[in-house]
């Protein structure tokens, strides 16, 4: 039986603090208060990989800047950091004090700073990979419009600034798996559509000379999509005929 003390925040004993050999900590759908996570984070001696995945239901307003102090004890050992979508608005975070951070995965749904602020605060000295995560991973997925011209321009500017600062950044990875409902459904829509992958291809070519690779899953071919629309149309026509 564990002691309860209402709202009091009890602290781990000095003996228990930094006594665990845990190097990988993955937390998702965290339903406790930030103080509880702080206590948990006090146990590992040297955390190297920390993942805080999305929150589904929690009355606590989680913000990105909270992780600045939550992870303070591990800033010298942390090599990778992943933060999913949070429950309360968008804030910035500075990772300049994390000298060994190599990989950062930030959800688009948790972070909306300008490229200038991002380049000035996210590019830790050894950060070589930045993962920009658009995935929603819920009953619905992100839509095609979530990666548009605005995101392409952000990416280009961020890469330019990273190169100007002679940062360690060498790779940007985009995680983007939109559902088909938001895709062009007719020939007319397809004719005027600029797909997210067209924009990513364009950005990839532009930032390559800066020494930064852009990676993303999936490819999109206009001809293939046209074929799909035509096939879907035929299926619809046939089912309508059968009904009449």
């Amino acid at each position: 039986m564990h002691p309860s003390s209402g709202d009091d925040v009890l602290t781990p004993s000095q003996d228990a603090e930094r006594s665990s050999n845990i190097t990988h900590l993955v937390v998702s759908d965290f339903g406790e208060k930030p103080e509880a996570l702080q206590k948990l984070l006090k146990l590992p001696k040297a955390l190297e990989h920390f993942v805080f995945e999305k929150i589904h239901a929690c009355p606590v307003p989680w913000r990105l800047d909270m992780f600045q102090w939550l992870l303070a004890d591990h800033k010298y050992t942390l090599k990778s950091l992943e933060i999913g979508s949070l429950t309360s608005g968008y804030t910035s975070i500075s990772l300049l004090d994390f000298p060994n951070l190599e990989t950062l995965n930030l959800s688009h749904w948790a972070y909306r700073e300008s490229p200038e602020v991002s380049a000035a605060s996210l590019l830790a000295p050894r950060l070589h990979t930045f993962i920009w995560d658009f995935r929603i991973l819920d009953q619905h997925s992100e839509s095609w419009s979530d990666f548009g011209n605005e995101q392409k321009e952000w990416l280009l500017r961020f890469a330019e600034l990273a190169a100007e600062k002679r940062s360690a950044l060498r790779k940007i990875e985009i995680l983007f798996c939109p559902d088909e409902y938001s895709s062009p459904q007719t020939r007319e829509e397809l004719a005027v559509c600029v797909s997210p992958w067209d924009l990513m291809d364009e950005a990839k070519d532009k930032i390559k000379p800066l020494g930064i690779e852009l990676e993303y899953a999936g490819s999109w071919k206009r001809e293939g999509w046209l074929q799909k629309i035509e096939e879907d149309g035929r299926v619809c026509e046939e089912s309508e005929k059968e009904e009449t």
Binding site: S20, N21, L25, F30, G31, E32, A57
Partner: protein
């Protein structure tokens, strides 16, 4: 004209002769002088010459000269499932097991390396769990093969699960001394769930990875923190859904039980 690979005779119509009267010889595959795959002439196959002699039916087949350890390594990869858990591909394992007694002897323990009974209930024990329990009861050596274990405890749709329903689960977990990765889903609200986990974990000195996932909002932080402190080799901890609406207001944030004074406990 078609020739029979077996007896190298043809019938008048050019079809391979399958007559029973003809003496049948085994054809042997080998390489021709220009390095192509071919059927060796009878005279060559019986001659003594280097690698071709290895193909002789009277010598030991190459496959039988492969050591058990090497097969072990090959089969581990062959029967690995494709999902994130690395579950065993039992179809492949069973097919391999049926090849020979020797393969069966090698494959059978490998089928116990990863046991994921997440689809079934450890408590109350479902039929599959009872069968596994029975198998291990009569062959405890199989328990030492288990490295990764995933279990599921009913989260109490049918109310609290009595302690006796945990008996089989407790025994089963106690027969697996080499577990290094453990996952448990659901059912933390039952009085017997955490004692079962704690007792098992104490007997797993190789435990490196722990994963707790909730069904309902009953995964409290205190017992998780207790377990962290009793598993010195733990390097990876995954928590899906700790705390939650029903826990936040009641939550005792963690303190090691031994450090709590009696006065504090009384409130």
């Amino acid at each position: 004209m078609t020739r029979c690979f077996s007896c190298r005779r043809t019938d008048p119509a050019g079809r391979p002769s399958l007559g029973n009267n003809a003496p049948r010889k085994q054809s042997l595959l080998g390489s021709s002088e220009d390095g192509q795959l071919c059927i060796l002439p009878a005279s060559t196959s019986s001659s003594v010459s280097g690698s071709r002699q290895k193909a002789s039916p009277t010598s030991t087949p190459f496959i039988t000269r492969i050591s058990d350890e090497l097969f072990d390594e090959i089969f581990i990869h062959a029967i690995k499932g494709s999902n994130v858990w690395g579950d065993t591909n039992y179809q492949t394992a069973l097919a391999l097991s049926g090849v020979s007694k020797r393969f069966h002897r090698i494959v059978q323990p490998l089928m116990y390396r990863t046991i994921h009974i997440g689809q079934h209930m450890l408590a109350p024990p479902c039929r599959a769990v009872r069968q596994l329990h029975r198998t291990m009861k009569f062959n405890k050596a199989l328990g030492s093969m288990v490295r990764a274990l995933g279990v599921h405890v009913d989260w109490g749709v049918s109310g609290n699960i009595s302690d006796t329903e945990f008996e089989i689960g407790r025994e089963l977990l106690g027969w697996l001394p080499n577990v290094d990765s453990f996952m448990i889903h659901g059912g933390y609200e039952h009085l017997s769930t955490w004692p079962m986990i704690s007792n098992a974990v104490l007997n797993w000195p190789r435990l490196k990875s722990l994963l707790f996932s909730r069904e309902d909002w009953t995964l409290g932080m205190p017992p998780v923190c207790d377990l962290i402190l009793t598993t010195p080799n733990l390097t990876t901890l995954t928590l899906h859904g700790p705390g939650g609406p029903s826990v936040v207001n009641l939550s005792p944030l963690w303190v090691p039980p031994s450090k709590v004074s009696a006065s504090k406990l009384r409130g």
